[in-house]
Symmetry: C2
Subunit: 326 residues, 2 copies
């Protein structure tokens, strides 16, 4: 098969596509013909050597999500047959023509979605739903605040919040507010030159029940100031840097929680549990129309380096899809 193989780490120029053997698959696993994949911030970090595949596989093939058709199944597989349209998340290996994964980590592609559209679903919708609902406890009536509202996770968050009857405010870079509003965000704070905290405090004086932050850095302190008493800050990324001063007194006074979370490093049983619950609670909402992937752009496999450059320029609103094979 053809795959992106990282022989070294660095800029987009290290991304080379070459022939490698098909992955092995065990008796509970499914081999998937990848029709399309999508890009995530983690791919950029991995390319730079800062976020290795926790399984340490050789050769190092990046890529966290995929959609395609079942090529072959292990002898104990009961859920899927060759030809089924599937999508999913893996800890790596999705920027390739074939990937192997446990059958219970796969999701059926909703009938309303093409495989290219489906590739834009798993990572951001699972991340946003897990962070907002499972980790943060978001329910109907409550307020969420999500940073980077026009990002993949942001656009998924807006739709999920509205689909479950919650209210949502987002921050976004200048020029991306319309995308967020069109998706149904109740409040949009354009980050620069606006001070979102003052606006947020004025419009939602009770604070946000759940804050989903992919940024860290300077936002940490503002998150603590804007979260509601007894609320939860869910930290799912660190675009703005690691070590930062925190007002511990505010954490105490508000009796709030600050939770770090990632999908990639979870053990198989946790990944399967969150995937199956997502299948029950979220997947039907793609066919009802409540949820839809927001695709910024689509790149052919051979131009995956350009896809990286596009994300690095922070130029996207929604997902960057990469088509792998017809």
């Amino acid at each position: 098969m053809r795959a992106v193989v990282l022989h070294s780490h660095g800029g987009p120029e290290v991304l080379t596509i070459e022939q490698t053997p098909d992955p092995d698959f065990g008796p509970d696993e499914v081999l998937v013909n990848v029709a399309a994949t999508a890009l995530n911030r983690a791919d950029l970090l991995q390319r730079m050597g800062a976020y290795p595949d926790p399984r340490g596989r050789v050769p190092e093939i990046p890529g966290l999500e995929f959609a395609g058709t079942v090529a072959a199944v292990g002898e104990r597989v009961t859920m899927w047959r060759p030809g089924d349209r599937v999508m999913g998340i893996e800890a790596g290996g999705a920027h390739a023509e074939r990937i192997a994964t446990h059958e219970r980590q796969l999701l059926a592609v909703p009938a309303s979605l093409s495989l290219a559209e489906a590739a834009a679903v798993p990572e951001v919708f699972l991340t946003a739903w897990d962070a907002l609902v499972l980790q943060g406890g978001l329910t109907s009536g409550r307020w969420a605040l999500v940073h980077a509202g026009a990002s993949g996770v942001g656009t998924a968050s807006i739709q999920i919040a509205k689909a479950i009857g919650a209210r949502i405010a987002v921050t976004c870079s200048a020029g991306k507010a319309a995308v967020c509003r069109d998706l149904g965000a109740d409040l949009v704070f354009e980050r620069s030159p606006h001070d979102w905290l003052a606006e947020a405090t004025a419009t939602v004086p009770g604070g946000f029940d759940v804050v989903l932050d992919v940024i860290g850095g300077d936002e940490v302190d503002r998150n603590l100031q804007s979260v509601a008493p007894r609320g939860t800050i869910v930290q799912v990324g660190l675009m703005g840097g690691g070590r930062t001063p925190v007002n511990v007194g505010l954490l105490l006074a508000k009796r709030c929680s600050w939770v770090g979370t990632t999908l990639r490093t979870r053990p198989i049983e946790e990944k399967v549990a969150v995937t199956r619950r997502f299948a029950a609670e979220m997947l039907p909402l793609f066919d009802t129309g409540a949820l839809r992937p927001v695709i910024d752009s689509t790149f052919p496999f051979d131009r995956i380096a350009d896809a990286h450059r596009h994300m690095e320029a922070n130029a996207n609103a929604g997902k960057i899809v990469v088509t792998v094979q017809p």
Copy 2:
């Protein structure tokens, strides 16, 4: 009745005992003749003007816990009768001869305890149990780390952890290790000149499932380094200062939670819920002998300023009890 009334804030010299009217009590409330009360760090902060009673009552009478006998009951009270031995927590007003509280916030004094011993129970055992078990999820087999192991909360934590089959390590100031070991602590890290983090990492390499911290400040970073993946840091105080740098990357990588908690500011329904559950799960263990209050010293009511000075000198191991009336 006689009560400590704060007319101004400052050192122990502002503590004056004077005659004030008995507190009013509503139809669901109980008036208690306070036999004994005990001191908490919060009393020192309140005396200095830094931690006011959230109910803002006038005159300002400090004191968070008490044991005594029921003096009178409101017309709808069903759980208690005059003469019953009771103990409990309130947001203030316990450094007085009488206090009024909701009947469902009261606990029966275990038969094995005198009223002076009982006064040393509510605040630290409820705080430690709520923090370790309800907020932190401590269970049998798991490891807890508790700072200030010889403090009231520390000595309660050690006993609670052992009583439920958990394992516990504590830090303590030099000279207080024996108290902690005698109570059953599995590991004791004398803080100075020892570096507890290096010792903790060497002896419990998997990390602590629950870290209970009353200190904050410099400990915050070490807490994050010593907590287990998926573990919980429960912040119940801030002796070491408020604003502190935090390694957010570690929070993410470990997928851990950092939860702020206080009992004092909770609404009545939460206070009642935690009190009733404590009555069911912890109170029986005083009569079985698994739990017992650790009393450092007992001061008569008229010497409550000396009790403050004793706590301020960090000279106590266990609770400082103040006897109010015979």
